[in-house]
Every structure is written in C-alpha cells, then in structure tokens.
C-alpha cells in the first residue's frame, strides 16, 4: 500500500465510525457505540503508524507526498482537488490527534455511560476526529478550510451537546460564530495568496513563495495576517478567545479532546504548515508572535482568579497555546510543535482528572466548594500532580523540555525576541501559580462534604441537578446528568486512559533532550528543511541558563501557591483588597466580552431592529409601496368621477372624441 493510501485510511475510519454510530444509534446495545467509536479511532491511529513507517522508508527528500482522489471543484483556473499531503508534520499531528483521541474515547466510554445521548456523543466525537484529521492532512487550501470549518461544527455540536441548557446552546453559537469569523479570515487570506500563486495546492504554493514575495509583498503580508485571524479564532488567541471559556459547557471529555489537546492547536499547525510563506513576510510572523505573547499573559492573569475548575484549565490552555503561537511565529517551529504534543498529553490528563473531580462533586465545578479530595481520590490526585508538574515545567516532566526549547530559540534569536523571552518566563511563573492554586484548593485543606462522603465509600449524588453555570434546574429528559456519575477511582476504562496519558506526560519530553537527542527535529526535518531559521540552538550558555531559570521559576511558582493557599489561606483575600482594580479586571476577563458586545453585537442587533421596525415600515412600506399605491388611488378617484352611469353622456363623449380626432387629421392634411 502506498503512503497516501494510509492517509486516506486515516480519514476513512473515523468517518465510517461516525456514520455507523449515527445511523444505528438507537439500535446499538449497551456500550457498543462507545466501543465502535474507540475502535475506529484506534484503527485510524494504527493507520497513522502505518503511514509513519512507510514515510520513514522513503528517502528524506521524498517525504512530502500528495495524494489526489478526484477533482473537487476544479474549474475556471481554480485547482481544488480532493487531495491530502502526507509529510512528517501532518503525520506528527495525526499521531497526536488519533492517539490522544483514542484514549479520550476510552475515557468517555465510562464517563458518559449514564448519559442518555450516549450514541449521539460518540457519533459527534468521531465526526470531530475525522474533521481534525482532515484538517491536518489537507493537501490544499480548499480542504484545509473544509476541515477547519468541520472541526468548528463538531465543536459547536459538542459544546451544545446538553442542548436543553440555554447556556450550552448560547456558548455553542458563540463558539461557532467566532470560528466562522476565523474561517472568513482563512478564505480571504487564501484569496490573497491565490491571486498571486494561481494554485490552491500547498506544495505548489510554497514553491512559488519567494517569487510571490518579490511580486507583491503587501498582498502576502495581508493574506497571512488574514490567515492568522483564522488561526487566532481557532486557537483562542486575543481578541478572538472569548468562546473558549464558555465552551467548557460541553462534557468534560470534549473539553479534554477538542478544547485542550487537538482543535485549539490547529492555529499552531496552520502557522507551521505555512512557514515558507511566513518566512517571506516577517511582519506577519511577528504579529503572530506578539499576539501569542499577549494571550499568554492575559490568560495567565485571568487563570489566577477564576474559580470554576474547568475554566481555570481552559485559561491555562489559552496561555499554553499562546506559547506555541509565539514559538511558531518566532520561527521555533519544531519547538512549538513539541510543546503542542506534550501539552496535548498533560492538558488532556488534567481535564480528565478534573472530570473525575466533577463527578465526585456530582456536577459542581466551583473551586470554592471543593477541598480535601487528596485522600478520597488518590489516583485522580496523582494524575493532577503529574499534569500540574508537567504544566508548570518542572524537570524532568514533559512540559519542562518543550517550554524550555521554545524560550531558548527565541532568546537565541536576540533583538526584540528577548522581550518575548522575558514574557515567556513571566508566563511560566503565572502558570505554576495558577495550576498549583487549583490543585491546592481542590485537594488540600479541609475536606468538603462530598469528599468526606467519598472517603466513607459512597459517591455523592445531588438531589436536584442544577446547571453549574446559572443554577437553573436541569431538564432531565436530555442526557446529563444521569443517575450516577463516574470517577476514575471506580472505573477501569477511565483509569487506563488517564494512566497512559500520565505516563506520556512524564516521558513525553524525552524525545528531544538538549545535548542528548533530537529525534523530533530529525523527524520533522523534511518539512522544515527550507526554513532559514535554525531549529536547534547551539548557544550553550543560554541553554544552561534557561534550564536553570526554568526550573527555578516553576519551583518558585509552586512555592508561592503553597504559601498563599495552604499555609496562609487568608492572604489571597488581603491581596485582592489591596489590588482591587487588577482583581476586578481579571475577574471580568479584561472586559473582552463586553467590548465585543459593544463593538460588534450591539450595532448589528440595532441595525436589524432598525431595519425591521423602521426601515421596512417607512422606506419600503411607505415610500416604495405607499407612494405608488397612493398615486394610483388618487388617479383612480379622479377618473371615477367621469363614470356617471349616464349612457348618453358616454355616447356623447365618444362621439366628441371621434370628431376631435377626425378634425385634427383634417387640419393636418
């Protein structure tokens, strides 16, 4: 089999799984839907591994292969084919996506079991994986956009999965619309690029990148910035990030898979994929790097004050993606992708562990109500600690190596990139603080009633289920919450999935240890060989400095969190009172929601209402319809007066008319 055949197989399995589950949904017995879903994703993973081996068999310069199935929309100069591009980059992404997805599917088999929409959930989830794989395998802009929009749609469906909650449907709509804005950026950016290259195919586009840059650098920069809009919207970067925290309305596995491990990293993939273009337009790349840095800080500060368990992790995701965007924007492609991979492991793990905690809390997500789960849930606690250490960047956990490599390359580039370097370390400190704040508050301190109940061997169930977002009583007809929740401690499937990810979160960083090995760099080399930016730093001084500084910052962060939330739990309130302005700013998420509402939503809503209530009535109704109607009415009133009903008067008029006409012709001749 050819390497691209494997590529098509990767796409085929999840699609078939999704359609199969969707069509059979009501007839599938027991957990069949879950196992079909997990199995199909696992097959996709195996196909990815097959493609990986096929690819490694090839000579290094032939490791970018395009496979074409048929002409999708090739006409009038546009060459949109159904084509995939298999190269190390797409295979790496496929490995991460299908691998992590398999584990999350496995986790969901148990976690979602009491949900009434079990089959629907797996149909959606498989569709999502298909879309994501399509996105990373796409061989041209058209398919990229298709995959891009499909993941948005899947994300919409999964966010509003519990569709009787108005908060969920609103959050879904918000996520979808912001993602559509991103799609628009992508399409428009494609237009700018297509205008000069005349092709939608990736490899052909990259070949003509240099020529294009000489011919129309303004267009290239404009096009790339528009592509960045797409990347920012998908990857929740400022100012298109507001949907991500709301997206936590979805079930926890969804947050874990889509809003942590895979979909939100699509922006990073996009920039890495487009690197030949970005290197020709450094201004656009700088925009990406700076936005990443800003997001990193904004999300980190909000993460410090949020009290919803899942939202803390969501803001952490935003901030970590900020790192990745900063990395690929600054030219550290391999390091960015490295972080993408390790982040997928530990963030998926953290979400799964959070899901377990939420299960123990019977659906409640508020940190203020949690505490002391350490003894009740040792396994979950262990996973949280591993994830937390990896996220904070403590050696030798995976996050340490990847984060360090990003900052090393940025620091090595010098110039204003030093600024990004500094921001990166400030972000690292924030990360350590907010991550461990979450852990200390949930697992340490006095045990909450739910934790005590669990220690006694019984899992807490709420008498009346309420929506954690607005306190509304749940509609029990649809799905969640079922009669029981599931926690890792009591379910093998969840334990296996979390265990695998925990191991990966520990050892994931070992594939690229400075001075020891650089497997990832070697693997990705065929994709990035044309890059002018060195992917491995040779600056030893900076390297050792960074390693020490990174360790130090992470440990200091954890220590601060320990002091504030374990040793002296009254201090945070004091700090809040002292810096009340900053606290308000952070709690209100820097007022981005309000800003967007003011600038975008309200004007359009006003325009719509104006059209509906005023314009339709006044201009269309009165002027355009009323005017002519009035004229016709007035005219007919005038003519009606002539219709007296006197037959002889009519006859006289007729005769007079004929006589006048005849007379006229007589005079004429």
């Amino acid at each position: 089999m050819n390497v691209t055949d494997y590529g098509w197989l990767i796409l085929l399995f999840p699609l078939v799984g999704s359609v199969l589950i969707g069509l059979l949904s009501s007839k599938l017995p027991g957990k069949a839907a879950g196992f079909i879903g997990t199995g199909s994703i696992f097959l996709a993973f195996l196909a990815t591994v097959g493609a990986l081996f096929k690819l490694q068999d090839r000579p290094e310069e032939a490791r970018q292969v395009t496979g074409i199935l048929y002409d999708y929309a090739s006409t009038v100069g546009v060459d949109a084919e159904m084509s995939i591009l298999v190269d190390p980059l797409s295979i790496l992404m496929c490995l991460v996506v299908s691998g992590v997805s398999t584990l999350i599917h496995l986790y969901s088999v148990a976690y979602m079991w009491s949900d009434k929409g079990y089959a629907r959930f797996f149909a959606y989830l498989n569709f999502f994986v298909f879309s994501m794989l399509l996105l990373v395998l796409a061989g041209n802009f058209m398919l990229l956009i298709v995959g891009w929009a499909f993941v948005g749609a899947a994300s919409y469906l999964l966010i509003s999965y519990w569709y009787r909650r108005t908060t969920a449907t609103t959050a879904g709509l918000k996520a979808f619309v912001i993602n559509v804005v991103g799609d628009i950026g992508l399409v428009l950016g494609t237009y700018f690029i297509f205008k000069h290259t005349g092709t939608l195919d990736f490899l052909k586009t990259f070949e003509s990148a240099e020529e294009f840059a000489n011919e129309g650098n303004g267009d290239l920069t404009a096009g790339l910035i528009l592509l960045l809009v797409g990347a920012f919207a998908k990857s929740a970067q400022v100012p298109f990030h507001t949907w991500l925290p709301d997206a936590m309305e979805g079930p926890t596995p969804v947050s874990s898979l889509i809003h942590a491990a895979t979909m939100v990293t699509a922006g990073v993939y996009l920039i890495a994929r487009m690197h030949p273009l970005f290197e020709q337009a450094p201004a656009a790349a700088d925009v990406a790097a700076i936005t990443g840095a800003v997001t990193l800080l904004v999300a980190g500060t909000i993460g410090l004050v949020v009290t919803d368990l899942k939202r803390v992790i969501a803001y952490s995701t935003m901030s970590q993606i900020g790192y990745m965007i900063m990395a690929v924007g600054g030219g550290a492609y391999v390091a960015g992708l490295f972080h993408l991979m390790t982040h997928a492991f530990f963030k998926a793990l953290l979400f799964m562990a959070a899901g377990s905690v939420i299960g123990a809390m019977a659906g409640k997500q508020d940190l203020d109500q949690m505490g002391g789960f350490r003894k009740a849930m040792p396994f979950t606690f262990g996973c949280f600690v591993i994830g937390g250490l990896a996220l904070a960047g403590v050696p030798p956990f995976s996050g340490f190596f990847s984060k360090d490599e990003i900052l090393l390359i940025l620091g090595d580039r010098g110039g204003w990139y030093i600024g990004l370097y500094v921001v990166g370390y400030i972000g690292a400190l924030l990360t350590a603080v907010y991550t461990w704040r979450m852990i200390f508050r949930a697992f340490f301190g006095e045990a909450c009633p739910e934790a005590k109940e669990l220690e006694g061997g019984h899992l807490h169930h709420a008498a009346v289920h309420t929506n954690p977002a607005n306190g509304e009583v749940e509609d029990t007809e649809v799905g969640f919450p079922g009669a029981e929740h599931h926690i890792a401690e009591q379910s093998t499937a969840m334990k296996v999935a979390m265990g695998c990810l925990a191991v990966l979160a520990v050892i994931g960083g070992f594939i690229q240890i400075p001075k020891v090995n650089h497997w990832l760099d070697d693997f990705l080399h065929p994709t990035f060989e044309d890059s002018k930016i060195e992917q491995l730093s040779s600056n030893d001084g900076l390297l050792y400095f960074g390693l020490i500084l990174g360790t130090f910052v992470a440990l200091v962060g954890i220590a601060i969190a320990y002091r504030l939330w374990v040793q002296q739990p009254e201090t945070p309130a004091r700090i809040q009172a002292r810096f009340s302005f900053l606290h308000r700013l952070f709690v209100n998420k820097w007022y981005f929601d309000e800003l967007i509402d003011l600038v975008v939503v309200r004007p359009f809503a006003w325009f719509g209402r104006f059209g509906q209530q005023t314009f339709e009535r006044v201009v269309v109704g009165a002027a355009l319809i009323g005017g002519p109607t009035g004229l016709v009415k007035a005219g007919s009133a005038a003519v009606r007066a002539l219709q007296s009903g006197f037959l002889r008067a009519y006859a006289a008029l007729l005769l007079a008319g004929v006589a006048i006409t005849l007379f006229y012709f007589l005079v004429q001749s």
Partner: protein, 594 residues
C-alpha cells in the same frame, strides 16, 4: 440521443389539464405525480446525456413562431440552464409529493396550476428566444397568483398577492419594452432582419447609450423577481401568504429564473452596460446581503427568516453575476442550484416544526424538538449548515467562487460581503437552536418526522450531501457556456486579467483533460510518487514529487526518449540519478530503476 424539449416542457401542464378534464381528484393527483416524475426523468436524462465538451445549445427545438416579427419557438439546453432545469424538476416533484398527503380543496385545479407553473418555469429556463422568454416569464406569475389566492390561509392574502402581482407586472412590462427595444435596435444596428433569437441578438452590440436604458429595464424586472434590496417590498407579505409547497418552489426556483436571466440575456447582449452598471449592481447585491441577514436574525417568523435569508443568498448570486468574470459566474450558477436545493427542504422542515408547535410559525413558540425527533433534527441541522454555506457543502464552493470572482473584480466589496457569511451563521443556527434545542415550548407536541414527509425531505437532503461531495459535476458540465456568457463583459471590464486567463488557456484546458495524461494520479488512486515513475524535480533539487501533468513550478519536465530519464531544463541533458538515491518501491522493497 435526441430529447424532445417540447414534450419535456409541456408534460406537467398536460398532466394538469388532463387531470382537470377527467373529473376525478384521485386520478388528477396521480397524473400530477406522474407528470412531475416524468419531468424529473427527462431532466436526469438530459443531465446524464449532456455532452460537456460541446459548447453551445443541445437538443435544440427551433420553429418559426411569428415569422413577421422574427419570433421563434426555440428551446435549448446548455451549461447555463442544465442544472437549473434539474432543480426545477426536483423541487416541483417535492412540492407535489408534499401536497399529495395533505387535504386540498378543489384539488384538480390545484394540480392544474402547479403543472402550468412548472411548465412556465421550464419554458423560461429553456427559451432561447427573447420574446418566448418574456412570455414564459409572465406566464409564471399567473398560476402562482391563483395558487396563492385560492389556497392560502393567510388573512391578508388578497393584499399580499396584489402587491406581488403589481410589483412583478411593473417589472415585466419594463422587460417587455426592453425586449422589443433590444430586438428593434439590434435590427437597425446590424441591418439584418428583425429577430428575437438570443443567439442572433448577441452577435451585434448596441451603442452604449441604448444599452444603458435597456439594461436598467431588464434589471428592474429581474431584481424585483429575485427579490433584491430595496425591491423586496412584496416579499414579506407574499411569503407569509403562500401555501407552503408553493412557497418552496417559488423561493427555490422562480427567484433563480431572474438570476439566470442576467446571465442568459443581459450579460451577453448588453456587455457594455453590464460593465457600466457593475458597481451599482454589486452594491445592490451587497446591500441585499447585509440587510437580508440583519433582518433574518431579528425576525421571529420562520418563513420570514428563510425569506430574508433568501434575500441575502440572492444577493450573493447577484454579486457572482456582476463580478463579470468566469469565477463569479460559475459560482452564481452553482449557488443558484444550491440555494434552491437548500431553501425548499428548509421550508418543509420549518413547516413540520410549526405543525409540532401548535401551528405557530413563530420561533418563540418552538423549542426542544430534537429529543423526540432526532432524525428531523439531523435533517434540519444539515440544511442549516448548508444554508450558512459551511465549507464542505456545495454552497460554500458556490460562495467561494462568487467571492473569488468579486475579489478579483472589486476587492473592497468582497471583503464587506464576507460579513454576510458571518451573519448567515448567526441566523441559520439561531433558527436551528430555537426550533430544535433549548427547553420545549409550551404547546409543542414533539414527534418524529413521518415516513411520507421523510420521502419528500430526505431525498432533498441526500441531494445536498451528494453535491457537497462532488460539486465538480455541475461546475464542469456548465463551465464552457457559463464562461461564454460573461466572456465579452469580462473582456471589457478587466481586459488585463481576461487576456491573462485566456493566455493561460493551454494549461487550463489541460486541467479537465488530466485523466488522459501519461501518469494519472487520480486513477492510480494514490500519490504522485517517485516509485510510480514520476520524475524528481531537478530545478529545486528538493526531491519533492512533482505532479507529472503540470511539472514543478510551472515547468514542464521532459523525458528523454532514449534513456527514459528526465531532462534537466537548464542543461538539456538527461539527469543521471545517483543509484544510491533511487526511490524504493514501498510494495516490494526493491529499488526502482527510472
């Protein structure tokens, strides 16, 4: 194969008349269904049999009708109307099937009008004579007038239908004037005999002054029929008053005839005026998009949401037409088909939702249907996604081409038009959420879609999905004639680009013909792969596989006939490939000699 278009065209009307004469409601119903099925069969045969390599009209029927005036009874099918005819057949069949399972008063008359309506629409689409087109265009109005006035349940149906008729008639009269003027002035300009045949009218171009006012008259007629902002005054009342199956075909098909008229008549015969008024028409399209979208997400009546969304979608089609380049025109025709296919099931599904919400067509009374009607929810979801032109649907491909065309013509307008894409997401999903999700409404009686309704909606949704997977079919079948329709206007509006695109013709011509070229990537079902014998790009030396059809970086790579090795374009010598770098056949693990 010879297809008799006259049979095709008059079949539905004949079925209706026969049904009326036979004096049995049941027979009339069956006859109407047979007529609609027969027409669909004819349409599918035409699409399958249509020869895309042959530009120009096929299956032509040409008889002299009024010889003194040069009016012919000329019908024909080409790339412009092929898929619109198929769409007409599909949607009318859906409307007939939908009506069959519901009680109708004066049933035989209903079928008669529906049959005549279908014949009139088909006639307007097939007519290749201007006078014939005008006749059919006006004939379309009559059955729809009766269908609305006779079978509507709305209170203000008289006022609504009167508004519709007056609006349309004013437009039609202007069009009649324009048609006559066009023929007469063409006769004067060319010195030939008076003729109304469209292909003859395109041969002579009128002076710009007369083109301008004739153009405006045509535009008035078509813009009212579409409708486009600000000529949509009849639309809200009209849409509320029409019986649902009638509305589905009216919105799905009749509006497209107007868009089609621009491409069939206006662009080829009045190219200078089209260029002259390009910006005006683009702005009208743009305003239709923005205004329609904004109203669609503030109104609460389902019919009006879909009506205003159609206003916006037709704005896109108008943009495509008046991009005046091949991309825009291709997109416009594809989008016309797509929109018809989407809006009809949307109306049907909205009606089903209304039936379940105690008969209310207000989205505030709906909600939560998805739980007990999952199949209906899925259908609704697919339609909603297609309606918002999600990438992956054929609607997106249509919009992609339209906006690419506009982007090439007027960048700023394309950028603003994209706001409409975002707004479409808002109003489509809002409709879906309010009908299917959230808490159940007070009076909702949620139940699954019935089998017989499913028979109407499911095929339409399957058609949407099929087009989504293979939009290439309408694009390539129509390409030659659609490009031809705007060719002259394209040349006059943007001579530079037109010259460039025509200059590139050899490579473009190779695109559809690629399957014939030596190594066929599509047929091989896989990669362009060194292992399959494709040459390695010598220019860049990167070893990236090169598409054999187009070569790397636009260069054609030649193979030395003696050695079978690729020729270096710089030196002209065959390239010796280092044996150690030979590609390895993945199947056998052996090296492949070039």
């Amino acid at each position: 194969m010879t297809l008799h278009l006259s049979i095709f065209l008059w079949l539905p009307a004949a079925a209706g008349v026969l049904g009326l004469l036979l004096r049995s409601d049941k027979v009339a119903r069956i006859l109407a269904a047979l007529g609609a099925f027969g027409t669909l069969g004819y349409a599918i045969t035409a699409v399958v049999d249509y020869d895309r390599d042959q530009a120009g009209l096929q299956y032509v029927t040409d008889r002299s009708w009024i010889s003194e005036l040069g009016i012919h009874y000329k019908l024909g099918v080409d790339g412009l109307n092929l898929f619109l005819i198929l769409l007409t057949a599909v949607l009318f069949l859906a409307a007939v099937l939908w009506s069959m399972r519901r009680p109708i008063e004066r049933e035989r008359h209903y079928w008669l009008h529906l049959g005549i309506g279908q014949s009139a629409v088909l006639g307007a689409l097939m007519a290749q004579d201007l006078a014939l087109f005008v006749a059919f265009f006006d004939l379309m109005l009559i059955p729809f007038y009766f269908l609305t006035i006779g079978w509507s349940t709305a209170e203000n149906k008289n006022a609504a239908v009167l508004k519709l008729v007056i609006y349309t008639l004013v437009g039609s009269l202007l069009m009649l004037v324009a048609a006559i003027a066009l023929a007469v002035l063409t006769k004067d300009a060319s010195g030939n005999e008076l003729t109304f045949v469209i292909s003859d009218l395109t041969k002579t171009t009128l002076p710009e002054g007369s083109q301008d006012w004739i153009f405006l008259c045509f535009a008035a007629a078509f813009l009212v029929k579409m409708p486009a902002f600000p000529f949509h005054g009849w639309m809200p009342d009209g849409y509320r008053a029409m019986p649902l199956p009638v509305l589905a075909v009216f919105s799905g098909v009749l509006s497209k005839v107007a868009a089609y008229g621009f491409l069939r008549i206006v662009c080829p015969t009045l190219p200078d005026a089209a260029v002259e008024f390009q910006t005006l028409m683009l702005i009208i399209g743009l305003l239709s998009i923005l205004y329609g979208s904004a109203l669609a997400f503030t109104t609460t009546n389902v019919r009006l949401i879909l009506g205003y969304s159609s206003l916006a979608q037709l704005g896109f089609i108008l943009l495509g037409v008046f991009a005046l380049n091949p991309q825009g025109a291709q997109g416009a025709i594809l989008q016309a088909v797509n929109h018809g296919l989407v809006v009809a099931p949307a109306f049907f599904l909205a009606a089903l939702a209304a039936e379940r919400a105690g008969g209310s067509e207000d989205i505030r009374d709906m909600g939560g249907l998805a739980f007990r009607a999952p199949v209906m929810a899925v259908l609704f979801l697919i339609v909603a996604f297609a309606n918002l032109a999600m990438p992956g649907s054929a609607n997106f491909v249509g919009e992609f081409f339209i906006l690419l065309g506009v982007f090439n013509a007027k960048v700023a307008i394309a950028c603003i038009a994209f706001a409409g894409v975002a707004l479409a997401a808002v109003y489509s999903l809002r409709l879906f959420i309010r009908a299917m999700h959230n808490r159940t409404g007070a009076d909702t009686d949620s139940r699954e879609i019935g089998v017989r309704d499913g028979l109407v909606v499911v095929p339409l949704v399957l058609a949407i999905l099929a087009l989504a997977f293979y939009p290439q079919l309408p694009l390539e079948k129509g390409e030659k004639d659609v490009v031809g329709a705007v060719a002259v206007a394209f040349e006059r509006s943007d001579p530079e680009r037109a010259a460039r695109e025509n200059g590139e013709d050899p490579t473009q011509a190779a695109t559809p013909g690629r399957p014939e070229s030596g190594v066929d990537p599509a047929a091989a079902g896989g990669a362009i792969d060194p292992a399959t014998g494709a040459p390695v790009d010598p220019a860049t030396g990167t070893g990236q596989p090169v598409d054999p059809a187009t070569g790397g970086g636009g260069e054609q790579i030649q193979i030395d006939p003696n050695t079978g090795l690729p020729i270096d374009p710089n030196t002209g010598q065959p390239i010796q490939i280092d044996p150690e770098q030979l590609p390895v056949d993945p199947a056998t693990g052996q090296e492949v000699t070039p």
